[in-house]
Amino acid sequence: MSGQSQRGINFTEGEIFGRGAPDREGYTPPRSGLPAIDPESALPAGTLRGQLEGFPSLSEPEVTRHYTRMSQWNFAVDLNFYPLGSCTMKYNPRINEAVARIGGFTTLHPMAPQEQAQGTLQVIDDLEKWLCQISGMDAATLQPAAGAQGELVGLLMIRAALTARGNPRKKVLLPDSSHGTNPASAVYCGYEAVTLPSGPDGRVDMAQLDRLMDDETAALMVTNPNTLGIFESDIIQISKLVHDRGGFIYCDGANLNAFLGKARFGDMGVDVAHVNLHKTFSTPHGGGGPGSGPVVVKQELAPYLPFPVVAQGDDGAYSLEYDRPQSVGRAHGFFGNTGVLLRAAAYILSMGPQGLAQVAEAAVVNANYIRARLGDHYHIPYPGRCMHELVITDKLQSEYGVSTLDIAKALIDRGFHPPTIYFPTITRGAMMIEPTETESLETLDSFCEAMIEIADLAKADPESIKAAPVTTVRTRLDEATAARRPQLRCSLCG
């Protein structure tokens, strides 16, 4: 076993219902000394609930162990390598956590008067400026709570700008390699999602773009580098063509890690983009969320940004501006997910401009290192160097009946989170591997050795790979039945 997944003790854990004893209790707070109030006299009848049948009575250690045991079935970037493609599961530095826990931020009430919220407003203003500087754009909103919400906000601004020009148009163009959220956002914004077929090299095909980009197309949503880990080297010509025909360029910034500090959306002709703080800027991602998907725009779109926006007066004081008549509206309550904004600001400050550029260098070198080491063992569908992530397939292993899913499961036994699988959908049996810059050479080597061992076993002993995982609390799950006939309610809920 090449990973570090071995645990001496693996607890199984069932439902908490049906355990404990009727008179068992956890912590009991001391009596307050205030008079007791009968809920029936204080609250409307409809809001009162009777005794909850079957609700367990447990001691504090029983409850603590229940949740701690279940938490140990989880995988996290704090445990080992997490190469989930297009998700940028980089390590979350602890300094970010220390900053986000500073009392002046955590104790600020969201309704506090603006003069008492100057510190938080300054962080928002600074972070907006830094994101504009990094992306080469003119203005930003930090409100969107995730990348997909950023997409919607960006498209709403495009729609507003086109409406102001006289015609909101009907369609949005999307490369066939795009993230699934892109067409969903386009449709949610009232546009028809039109697929743009990729060229044989995995990039936007200029001839197809020329054919499909018409005067009813509002925007092209492009991801750069794209989900195959390939840089859209024609991006300047792409944006020129779209602009010449009156459309806007939306860039999905999910893969910004690949050129952080090296290249900028603004210089590529992008009009609006979102960046994922929970990817590129090292804030927790996934179950550790919440996320944050700030949107950066060129000047033309700035009037449409969500309100309120933070402004700094001549006296240096920060305030919230609500008088934004062209705004697309609020995207989030209060200031967005401020805890996440603080972590991202701490990351940018601790890295500095040179540090951020090194992120891109190491992320790209790491991905190409894995690509070079796995190239003799796995099929690599697109030739040439990759950016920050690489796509391989199960083509060689499928000859022995071993699929991408089997390879992913076998990685779990070797202590690694599987890469993104079966995406992008234009590549059959895809595995999308993104190592990020935060991994050491030793970690990359141990991952490559695990992948090579799996490739060897796929040939020599395919059944051993098809049986994986065997070291987990639950072995291979029946994902089809779980999706076809889900049982989502606990026994107590009936």
Binding site: G180, L405, I421, Y422, T425, R428, E479, A480, A483, R484
Partner: protein
């Protein structure tokens, strides 16, 4: 892998069986279900909807991916396979028979001539 000779095929991996001259029964091919893997949900259109040739009429969701379904011919939906809501696995187990998805009253049966024969579709599938 099966490629029944009496059916017509689309490049998007749907098949068409003609009944009573102008009724088209439509499903996805054995190759398509094999590529998608275990299908967990099929979203079908409402009866009465008019479809253009090439129009997306629904979605097949598998454990791997979500894929649009395209109507190979134009027509009105006259029936939707009622079994698929509770048993989407029929598309995997019996793609050309019990796993059919919709029935259309075709607008113009001549459109069938634009579709692929079993041999042409087999060549397409095996190339991909």
């Amino acid at each position: 892998m099966e490629f029944p000779k009496d059916l017509k095929y689309s490049k998007e991996h749907e098949w068409v069986r003609v009944e009573d001259g102008d009724t088209a029964i439509i499903g996805i091919t054995d190759f398509a279900q094999d590529e998608l893997g275990d299908i967990v949900f099929v979203e079908a259109p409402k009866v009465g909807r008019d479809l253009k040739a090439g129009e997306s009429f629904g979605v097949a969701e598998s454990v791997k991916t979500v894929s649009d379904l395209y109507s190979p011919v134009a027509g009105q939906v006259i029936e939707v396979n009622p079994e698929l809501e509770g048993s989407p696995e029929l598309v995997n187990e019996s793609p050309f028979d019990k796993g059919w998805i919709i029935k259309l009253k075709m607008e113009d049966p001549k459109e069938l001539e634009n579709l692929l024969s079993a041999q042409d579709y087999r060549n397409l599938a095996q190339k991909g």
